[in-house]
């Protein structure tokens, strides 16, 4: 591969990562639950595309498999499960928030800066063509985490969790060209099971409190 296409590839990967980050902000800025789920699906497709690009550039084939699994599980299966939960439970479509949207976006911007600040000394040490994505992946993880804290409904917390997972996947791909395949498959399995369990947990929550607002859990404390 020529130097030019190397650089082009690197730029493409960075572009993919940046789009991923953008979808994160989109998720934080959404008011409706189903739109949140849709944005997550879009993010997963972008992630798969980025991973496939890395696989193409480096010639490491097992990343293709991981990318395919991402599409199947995170872009199709999990969004479907989540939408079912939303429909069946008749969750009110509006999001309930601890922190309002403008403030959330500001905090997320701060988190992105923090991520770039932290990874600054590490990135030059790397030699992979995907190394610049590391900062973005850390930013995605932090934003995912923040979503879990800032939104009250159980379903949004699942989405926050899954966004974090996407961030981790991007991090692994960019920092080390992906984890060993067996680990990757294990993680996918974990995520799927995690989504299922949280789905069930949401049901129970609805049964017990007539709401999926997790702040109601405080009543469990004596």
């Amino acid at each position: 591969m020529s130097l030019l296409s190397q650089q082009l590839g690197s730029q493409m990967v960075n572009l993919g990562s940046a789009l991923l980050l953008l979808t994160c902000f989109a998720i934080v800025a959404q008011r409706r639950l189903t739109a949140c789920v849709d944005m997550f699906a879009v993010q997963s497709v972008l992630l798969a595309a980025t991973a496939a690009l890395v696989a193409f550039l480096t010639g490491i084939h097992h990343i293709y498999i991981a990318a395919a699994l991402t599409v199947v599980i995170k872009a199709v299966l999990i969004p479907r499960i989540l939408k079912q939960v939303v429909e069946r439970l008749n969750v009110t479509r509006e999001l309930v928030m601890n922190v309002n949207i403008p403030a959330s976006l500001l905090i997320c911007g701060g988190l992105v800066m923090l991520a770039f600040f932290i990874t600054q000394p590490i990135i030059p040490l790397g030699f992979l063509l995907t190394r610049d994505s590391l900062a973005i992946s850390l930013a995605i993880i932090l934003i995912g985490f923040f979503t879990m804290i800032a939104r009250k409904k159980a379903v949004t917390q699942v989405i926050g969790f899954l966004v974090m997972e996407n961030g981790l996947f991007l991090g692994a791909t960019s920092a080390a060209y992906g984890m060993p395949l067996i680990v990757e498959i294990g993680v996918f399995f974990d995520v799927l099971v995690g989504a299922l369990i949280i789905g069930i947990y949401t049901h129970r929550l609805q049964d017990a409190f007539d709401s999926v607002d997790t702040t109601k859990l405080t009543t469990l404390k004596e």
């Binding site: 601890n98 923090l114 600040f117 932290i118 000394p121 932090l142 985490f145 923040f146 879990m148 804290i149 009250k152 917390q157 997790t214 702040t215 859990l217 405080t218 009543t219 469990l220 404390k221």
Partner: protein, 675 residues
């Protein structure tokens, strides 16, 4: 032999998996699960026998991608002996279970019960064969967890859940110490392979050896049930279904004995300071004595048997301890004798304790109660169960011609040989231990006189007992198998001793089979035939002849008086069950004598007629003994943890978001610090 091994593992695995595919057909699940366990038991007995006879240990291993873990199996004579024991008891328990579990139809999932039963047997078999520390810990945990699930089979009862929880905590505390033991070996050798533990490049420094000794004693001692770590046994064993109790008490606690022998004699090379053996001896003696004393006060038949397990583990440890002391002073033959006595008692206890638990299960099956005060008169209603229970009771009380007698005799002999030890202190201490053992044996006899007499003799004390009937055939076969084993192991020690010698020879470094078996195989001697000797076949023959002689004399001369059937004379009053000797009454003298240990609380409430204080309107008698260990050792620890937890509650607001914020803030702060 490899084929046998494969057959054993395959049968247990099939028995674990298949019942799940037969949902909704409990009878079929029962037959498939326990039938496969029977087959595995038979193969296991063959495997154990082959392993004991084989000149070279059988090894097999599958490497894994996980660092330090390899699924290695090594069947040396020590492992083979325990495989044999597990399989024998497992076989009897599975035959018994065929009939016993019919009681659970519709109440408990037979698929789960049968599957767990097979899995439990499989994990125990693997524990004694494992040849890698990591693999050992995995199957050890598996064994503990599966037995926990079996204990809580009847989880709808609150006391069963409590028992299970108690057991779970204790076994995990024990496992923590076991992991510690293996980590000590690991950090010295850099490997988890038992073979490397056995032959390390650099021997363990003395301080760490002592550390390993103590950690192993606490870790495995918890599972074995040594005092004061025994508190879980009287909860967990009665709570489990009886065939499971038989396995737990008969063989599961023996895996701890296996592991102790493995660690002390194999890994630590049989080189001990004198006080190691002394500690084991003291722990054994205290466990034996306290175990039997608490057993005496129990009126729940299965709790009583559970306390007897504490006692017998104590006896086994006394044998081991004596062996370790002799090893210190280079008296190899006596060391081998102590070890032999301990291991002999191990298989004996496995057999008779399993038999007694199966007998207790039969009583439970027939009367639906475990309280002895509600039994009575069962011998006429359940003659077979009564007979088998009697065989077990005779064995555990160490009376000839059964197996308990032979092994306890050997333990006594190895303690008496202490006059060869140069240390004056030990010369005094070992006979003292022998005296404690003597007291233990006598109390055990009293306890089983009570257990058998109150349960089986006289008139029924409750309607449960009055309507009891004999148990189904398969349960009787299961008990019969173990009863026969009790007698065979007792009458034919000359067959057992050479087999045990094959285990001990590599551990103690000397073979003593031809010295222990004296007079052309007719007698046993503690190494030196001049010192003392015992011929159990002759003893059995003598007992049989004398009893036949007695019967013959009665038949010959007693025939003159005519047999007359009439009611027992009760001073003119009709006899009723209320006049019978109760279990509480039976042990009253012993309770008085040892009141310092029991700390009994007696409460007597009486209400008299107004006219005279000689006529009581109502009397209420209550008596319980202080659970000393729980009160002074366990409760403070539990209270401490509860108090700590209470303080930590401040930060537990119960809000999910708050918890997430805690984590998030920690993460960000750590990232910034890492900069």
């Amino acid at each position: 032999m490899t084929l046998l091994l494969a057959a054993v593992l395959a049968c247990y695995t099939a028995g674990t998996l298949l019942p799940h595919f037969l949902r909704g057909r409990p009878t079929l699940q029962n037959y498939v699960a326990h039938g496969l366990a029977c087959a595995a038991g038979l193969f296991g007995i063959a495997l154990g026998a082959a392993g004991l006879a084989a000149p070279e240990p059988l090894t097999a291993s599958i490497t894994s991608t996980i660092p330090y873990l390899s699924f290695a199996i090594r069947l040396d004579p020590l492992a083979a002996f325990f495989v044999l024991t597990i399989s024998l008891v497992g076989l009897a328990a599975s035959i018994y279970a065929l009939g016993y579990v019919t009681e659970f139809y519709g109440r408990v999932s037979l698929g789960a019960l049968g599957s767990l039963f097979n899995g439990f047997l499989l994990s125990m078999t693997l524990v004694v064969m494992a040849d890698n520390g990591f693999f050992f810990l995995i199957v050890w945990e598996l064994m503990s967890l599966l037995s926990y699930f079996l204990v809580v089979t009847e989880h709808e009862k609150a006391e069963v859940r409590y028992a299970g929880f108690f057991y779970l905590i204790m076994t995990h505390v024990g496992t923590a110490f076991i992991i510690l033991t293996f980590l000590i070996f690991f950090q010295n050798t850099g490997s988890f392979s038992f073979d490397v533990f056995r032959h390390p490049d650099t021997p363990l420094p003395q301080g760490l050896r002592t550390f390993a000794f103590i950690a192993a004693l606490i870790g495995f001692g918890t599972k074995a049930g040594i005092v004061p770590l025994h508190v879980w046994l009287p909860y967990a064993h009665p709570a489990a279904p009886s065939h499971i109790s038989a396995l737990m008490s008969g063989v599961m606690i023996k895996t701890a004995i296996y592991a102790l022998v493995r660690v002390y004699f194999d890994f630590l090379g049989g080189q001990f300071p004198w006080w190691w053996g002394f500690i084991i001896l003291v722990v054994g003696a205290v466990s034996a004595l306290l175990g039997v004393m608490y057993a005496l006060m129990e009126h729940d038949l299965k709790s009583l048997l559970a306390f007897h397990s504490v006692e017998n583990i104590g006896i086994i440890l006394m044998g081991l301890g004596a062996g370790m002391i002799f090893q210190t002073y280079g008296l190899k033959e006596f060391a081998a004798l102590g070890l032999l006595a301990g291991l002999y008692h191990t298989i004996n206890h496995a057999v008779f304790k399993a038999l007694l638990f199966l007998g207790a299960g039969s009583l439970l099956y027939a009367t639906h109660t475990r309280n002895m005060e509600e039994y009575g008169g069962l011998l006429k209603r359940m003659p077979w169960t009564g007979f088998f229970f009697l065989v077990g009771a005779v064995s555990i009380s160490a009376l000839p011609p059964t197996n308990g007698f032979v092994s306890e005799w050997l333990v006594f002999q190895s303690l008496f040989l202490s006059f060869h030890i140069p240390s004056i202190f030990l010369k005094l201490m070992l006979p003292l231990a022998a005296a404690m053992l003597a007291l233990t044996s006598v109390l055990a006899l009293a306890c089983f006189a009570k257990a058998f007499g109150i349960s089986f003799l006289a008139l029924p004390r409750s309607s449960h007992a009055r309507h009891a009937g004999e148990v189904p055939g398969s349960m009787r076969v299961g008990m019969a198998l173990l009863a026969v084993a009790c007698v065979v192991l007792g009458v034919a020690p000359m067959v057992v001793v050479p087999l045990l010698d094959r285990i001990i020879a590599p551990l103690a470094g000397v073979s003593i089979a031809d010295k222990v078996i004296a007079l052309d195989g007719w007698a046993l001697a503690p190494v030196n035939v001049e010192f003392s000797s015992l011929s159990s076949p002759a003893l059995a023959l003598l007992l049989a002849t004398l009893s036949l002689l007695g019967l013959g004399l009665v038949a010959a001369f007693g025939g003159l008086a005519k047999a007359r059937h009439s009611k027992t004379w009760g001073c003119g009053i009709n006899l009723s069950p209320r006049m019978e000797y109760t279990a509480t009454g039976f042990v009253q003298p012993i309770k008085r004598v040892f009141s310092t240990i029991y700390q009994p609380t007696v409460k007597l409430e009486q209400e008299f007629l107004e006219e005279s204080k000689y006529f009581a309107k109502r009397q209420q008698f209550e008596f319980h003994i202080e659970p000393v260990f729980q009160k002074y050792l366990y409760d403070p620890v539990v209270d401490f943890f509860l108090a700590m937890a209470g303080r930590l509650r401040v930060i537990q607001a119960g809000s999910l978001h708050l918890y997430l914020t805690y984590i998030f803030v920690t993460l960000v702060v750590l990232l910034l610090i890492a900069m």
